[in-house]
């Protein structure tokens, strides 16, 4: 009886370890996949990554957008990678690439966050640019770029970075 009890405990511990290993492995794979979608300075001349990229999974999303995570989770969220870019004038843009479960999940969250009233021809499956931010979807990805100012350099950066991310996504699909 006592022996059985120990076997059960060992099995439970092993299963927890396997699940944890699986999650870590999945997150690492996602990080690798999403890192390949981040523009380099070669891809977007004049704009460089100024912060190390961070990846969040479902659990981490609560930390990243505490209070706003539900919307993404509702539509089917997998991972997000975030990074910040800056030009030589110190104009900063935040890039977020949300990896959703599939294209319809990406379309769902996009419809909630954006509209096509000011779309950019050829960018993503659908796109929307506003005064200081831009959203587009391509396949299972929702890409959000946010500038911190409303000026020409910001808009120029939004479009150039978005175009490069779109190219990288297309190549990956």
């Amino acid at each position: 009886m006592k022996k059985d009890k120990y076997i059960v405990i060992i099995l439970v511990v092993l299963s927890v370890m396997v699940v944890q290993w699986g999650c870590t492995n999945e997150k690492e794979k996602a990080a690798e996949r999403l890192m390949s979608l981040l523009p380099t300075e070669k891809g977007v001349p004049g704009w460089a990554m100024v912060d190390s990229a961070e990846v969040y999974d479902k659990e981490g999303l609560w930390e990243y957008i505490d209070g706003g995570a539900e919307l993404y989770l509702k539509y089917g969220f997998k991972h997000v990678i975030t990074s910040e870019y800056a030009d030589t004038f110190d104009t900063h843009i935040l890039l977020e690439i949300f990896e959703m479960n599939n294209a319809s999940a990406a379309a769902g969250i996009y419809a909630d966050k954006a509209d096509d009233s000011t779309s950019i021809a050829g960018l993503g499956d659908r796109s929307s640019i506003q005064d200081y931010y831009l959203n587009f979807i391509r396949g299972p990805y929702l890409v959000t770029l946010t500038g911190y100012e409303e000026n020409y350099r910001n808009l120029d950066g939004l479009i150039k970075i978005a175009a490069n991310v779109d190219d990288l996504i297309k190549k990956s699909l």
């Binding site: 912060d51 609560w62 957008i65 505490d66 209070g67 706003g68 539900e70 919307l71 989770l73 509702k74 900063h92 935040l94 966050k113 506003q130 005064d131 200081y132 931010y133 959000t144 946010t146 911190y148």
Partner: protein, 317 residues
């Protein structure tokens, strides 16, 4: 209660004496300090809304008009600031100038320590030149380590207990500093909602958002969420509410990015319910009817009926 007047009368009166109140008030303040109002029996408003682009100066002026920071912070007291500033997205953060002004006022009043619940986003202090002048104070801020303390809420209708940051309970003075902005679930974030975002630990926060019967729909139970927010405010009432209504998102809240509305208003109040009810008009909402406002008012946390509140609307710098 002598001198009890409603909102409309108060605004009319303050407009009529506007110039003398502002100029004269400043002279009295210069001569006698923040207690000049009591010396001359000027009625202190419950809410001050100040309009202008000098957010540092206007925050100080608005706090002075509700009695001055010395009314809330005494020598040696500890202060906790619940500032809604976690991302750099425009229209989602409290202005740096407002936080600097509050820090300055607290230290000037004799605060021994200032706690901040959440880390500020990267480059937050670079937004304003004044940061160099107040570097010492900025460096002296103590950030919460987010230990947890369980609080029983016997009067809570939905939440019977909450897990919050200990500094919320341990500080002598608690100042709630939200930005007024859109929220997908509660329609507005403000003083009441900021308690959930800024002080509650994950299990409490999740329970509020998802509810006990969560089936996967986004904000499927708004009555549950708003009741939880009202209940959570039972943990501790703020001593002072200082709201950023200068520029904020009107959609895609609470994190944006979204369309911006610029009003250049800062609102300071003593009553968290009334302050939220007042600020709701910034988002074209009916403040007294907001579920968080009505439910918090039912708890006796404040007054949602703005006709019973003394409001002073003034132009600042």
């Amino acid at each position: 209660m002598p001198g009890k007047i409603n909102r409309r009368t108060f605004i009319k009166q303050t407009t009529a004496i506007g110039a003398s109140a502002v100029i004269g008030g400043q002279i009295l303040f210069d001569l006698f300090g923040p207690r000049a109002d009591s010396a001359f029996a000027v009625e202190t408003p419950d809410i001050v809304a100040i309009k202008g682009t000098d957010y540092f100066a206007n925050t100080i002026k608005a706090v002075d008009l509700v009695g001055g920071m010395g009314k809330f912070v005494s020598k040696g007291s500890t202060v906790a600031l619940n500032v809604n500033a976690v991302r750099n997205t425009p229209g989602t953060n409290v202005r740096t100038g407002m936080v600097l002004a509050v820090m300055k006022m607290c230290y000037d009043a004799g605060a021994s320590k200032i706690f901040v619940f959440k880390e500020f986003p990267k480059d937050y202090w670079k937004n304003i030149d004044l940061s160099n002048e107040y570097k010492e104070q900025i460096d002296s801020l103590t950030y919460s380590e987010w230990n947890t303390r369980k609080v029983d809420l016997p009067k809570g209708k939905t939440l019977k207990e909450a897990h919050v940051v200990p500094e919320l309970l341990d500080c002598d003075v608690y100042i709630n500093m939200p930005i007024i902005k859109h929220h997908e679930g509660t329609l507005q974030t403000g003083v009441l909602k900021n308690v959930m975002g800024g002080t509650a630990h994950k299990p409490t926060n999740r329970l509020c958002h998802l509810g006990p019967n969560y089936k996967g729909d986004f904000y499927e139970d708004i009555p549950h969420l708003t009741q939880c927010i009202a209940d959570l405010n039972l943990v501790r009432k703020p001593n002072l509410c200082i709201c950023d209504g200068t520029e904020f998102i009107t959609e895609n809240g609470p994190f944006g990015p979204g369309p911006l509305k610029k009003l250049d208003k800062i609102v300071v109040g003593i009553d968290p319910v009334a302050t939220d009810a007042y600020c709701a008009s910034f988002l074209d909402l009916d403040g007294p009817q907001l579920p968080t406002v009505t439910k918090a008012a039912e708890h006796g946390l404040g007054i949602g009926d703005l006709t019973k509140i003394k409001i002073s609307e003034i132009d600042g710098q």
